[in-house]
Amino acid sequence: MDRTAGRAISRRDLLKAGGAIVVSFAFPLSPGDALAQTTPVAGGRPVDAGEVDGLLAIHADGSVTLYTSKVDVGTGIRIALAQMAAEELGVSPSRVAVVEGDTATCPDQGGTGGSTGLIRGGTEIRAAAATARRALLQMGAAQLNRPVADLTIADGEVRPRAGGAGVAIGSLIGDRRFSLKVDRNAPLTPPSQHAAIGKALLRPDVPAKCTGRHVYVQDFTLPGMLHGRIVRPPSMGAKLMSFDESSVRGIPDVRVVRVEDFLAVVAKDEWAAVRAATALKVSWNEQAALPGHEELDRFSRSAPLERDQEILNRGNAADVARRAPKTLSATYFWPFQSHASLGPSCAVADVRADGTATVWSASQGTHGLRANLSKVFGIPLEKLRVVFLDGSGSYGTNGTDHVAADALLLSKTVGQPVRVQWMRHDEHGWDPKGPQQLLDVRAALDSDGRIVAWETDMWVPNAAPGARALLSAEAAGLQQEHGTGSGAITQNGDPPYAVDNVRVVAHLIKDTPLQLSNLRAPGKIANVFAVEGFTDEIAAAERVDAVAFRLARLSDPRAVEAIRRTADAFKWDTRPSPNPRPRQGNVLVGRGIAYMRYKQMENYVAIAMEVAVNAASGQIQVRRVTCAHDCGLVVNPDGLRNQVEGCIVQTLSRALHEEVKFDRSRVTSVDWTTYPILRFPEAPAVDVILIDRPEEPLVGAGEAATAPVAAALANAVFDAAGVRLRTVPFTPLRVKAALAKV
């Protein structure tokens, strides 16, 4: 096949009628060609994470630039990565710049998710810096005519340990290449000598963000750029019947763009695009195929399954439970939730006549997005560049990838650079959602109150490999091989406590009503809610204090320390739940705790909180939260604290308020009134205790503290009011309904 002819936009298929562009067939698919890859090189540097030069460059003035696919979505990894590299290169972190997520210059270290920014990104960069350090010491040894063993690297120079003249690293390597593979075993600076790691350095982007100078993708413009707005269908899978172009007459310089069921407007003026998208009269053929959010738990239990997956089977839980003198069981449910990013997703795309294309995007995975866009839109990989710019916080995969496809499709169609920003209803309505999860948990106890068997059955959406289907491509009728997925959602379904017989089974639901994505602590958030809520139920049934109950079943000293330090700082009052004297004025007061080890192999987190429940209104006020957090080595304690605080407060919002509402056709929670989130008057004091373990590997912190929040909250509510909340969100209506049953 003729490669260029096959892939070029077929202008003859553009039917221009008035201001409208209607494309019936535009982008033939040639996936094999689009993925053909050559070894890319940027400015003489290999774009290869296995090469030192791929991840860093040391300039003649001794300053350093890092290149990474890990991006800072408000998490503070920009400064943390600089600290990790600076530590090994013997420079001040202020001398280290970080280029993030530009597919032309940054090697692919994977997308930014699952707290891998530092786990993988930081660790690989640090290894590259340590490899460079070793090379610089050798170069310095030759220059200074001293053995390597006599030399050290500090303040930007290689110098004798004993003192005396050194040589600047900028003069040793100064923008030349190391031409070295990253040695993952290159010796690292020992913790006792850390100069950059462990310091609470300020994030470099905060001053610009606080003064309106930071350029977010929402702020980025190009000469000749048009503003696009997408006219999404009113409901999932609706077919576009017709539109009335005369309905946008009078709005200046607007064009309507239709590609099959994809409908959009472009205009020179952003407000004109907004107005036109609203004013455009469209006729859709809608479907009514969704279960509705009120039926979602029943749907989850009864929907056709792809298969059952045994996650864990230790001992013989079912048999032991059958013979046990005492069993307990409960059902927990977590609804669909939205990223609900504060800023609607935005992207700018510039598809040129020469076949090259650049997309500016806040995607958490620009390399993955580039590969997907390349395949779907038939733009050869080497001609497509995706450049990361900061966006609104995204916590997984909000609308960024979709809006990038929107902008690309529009730019390719109109032949000009196009900026698309979603409207609020687009973001709430169409961002891929965190999945619903239904869990049945059962425990069997012997006559001494030991948990002898534990069974978890979870109903969760099935995952299929491949990128998420892009909304605009789907509407435009472009072929796309796509997957579905929402992350590793079956982890932490087992208790972290000593139990001999445990079985966890995931019932994987074949189809999902709404498109899914990873959303902060995917799966773990609901599984820990169920496991730790149910653990609390067992402790209460046994009339044992919740802290003592957990400590009696843990042997890992890091787990024990996390719980002890949380309880101590919280001033935990040891007694069984519920609180025998909860009443304070017109509210009921109680405290709860939850603990988990993230993915059963990463962070140790314990969270305690105090709540006041207003029995009349059903409102829960969280008064204070204490959290001990152990993620191994701490790179930047203030950045880490910020992340942990954010995990906790955001998850209180998710637990108290958040549920995507939808009817038979469409998402109906499309703004901040219908999808409320936590407000300032509800924000509690949060006390974070960092347990720094410099000798242990770091395990990241973007997600872990999210997981125990809902259980700690439900456990505190039980302590206060004697009612057990097993369905999120804990709305006043649900609280009152639970209280009415007591």
Binding site: G74, D205, L678
Partner: protein, 164 residues
């Protein structure tokens, strides 16, 4: 096309708009090329677009450009620079009271208006003043601390006799 003149960060400016109902936000971010005020919802629900109109915190997504005419508009850019931030901006930087920072504009502008009318707010007053400003990253505790810090810094300055 009608032209609307107002003061923006101390300077007289004018913008042309085809639609008198065009929200001020689009004029600020478009022809006036400012980045401080952000589009968050366009519904007056989140506060990301907040500017000061004659010192009152105002949702620029809800204020028609025609009604901004003749007014005194201050945006985040008008307070200070990264090198010379104003007292509230400096307090936000010192407390690292941002994650993604998309809501920060609204938080700082709301704090400016609060501190102008209540120089020494309690924590509850701060939280009430920010009730209409949403933060999705969960930076609430730091934002409250930053406003307390700004208030304290201002009162220390006035206590020592210097100008606030």
């Amino acid at each position: 096309m009608p032209r609307y003149a107002f003061r923006l960060n101390g300077q007289p400016v004018s913008v042309d708009s085809w639609d008198p109902a065009q929200p001020l936000l689009y004029a600020l971010r478009g022809p006036l090329a400012l980045h401080g005020p952000k589009f968050g919802c366009g519904l007056g629900q989140c506060g990301a677009c907040t500017v000061l109109v004659d010192k009152t915190a105002t949702r620029s997504c809800q204020l028609p450009v025609s009604r901004a005419a003749g007014r005194d508009i201050t945006t985040l850019e008008g307070l200070g620079t990264p090198e010379k931030p104003d007292a509230v901006q400096a307090a936000f930087i010192a407390e690292q009271a941002a994650q993604c920072g998309y809501c920060t504009n609204g938080m700082i502008m709301a704090a400016k208006a609060l501190l102008a009318r209540t120089p020494k707010p309690t924590v509850d007053q701060i939280k009430q003043a920010l009730d209409g400003n949403l933060c999705r990253c969960g930076t609430h505790t730091r934002i409250v601390r930053a406003i307390q810090r700004a208030s304290l810094a201002a009162s220390e300055r006035s206590d020592s006799g210097r100008q606030v």
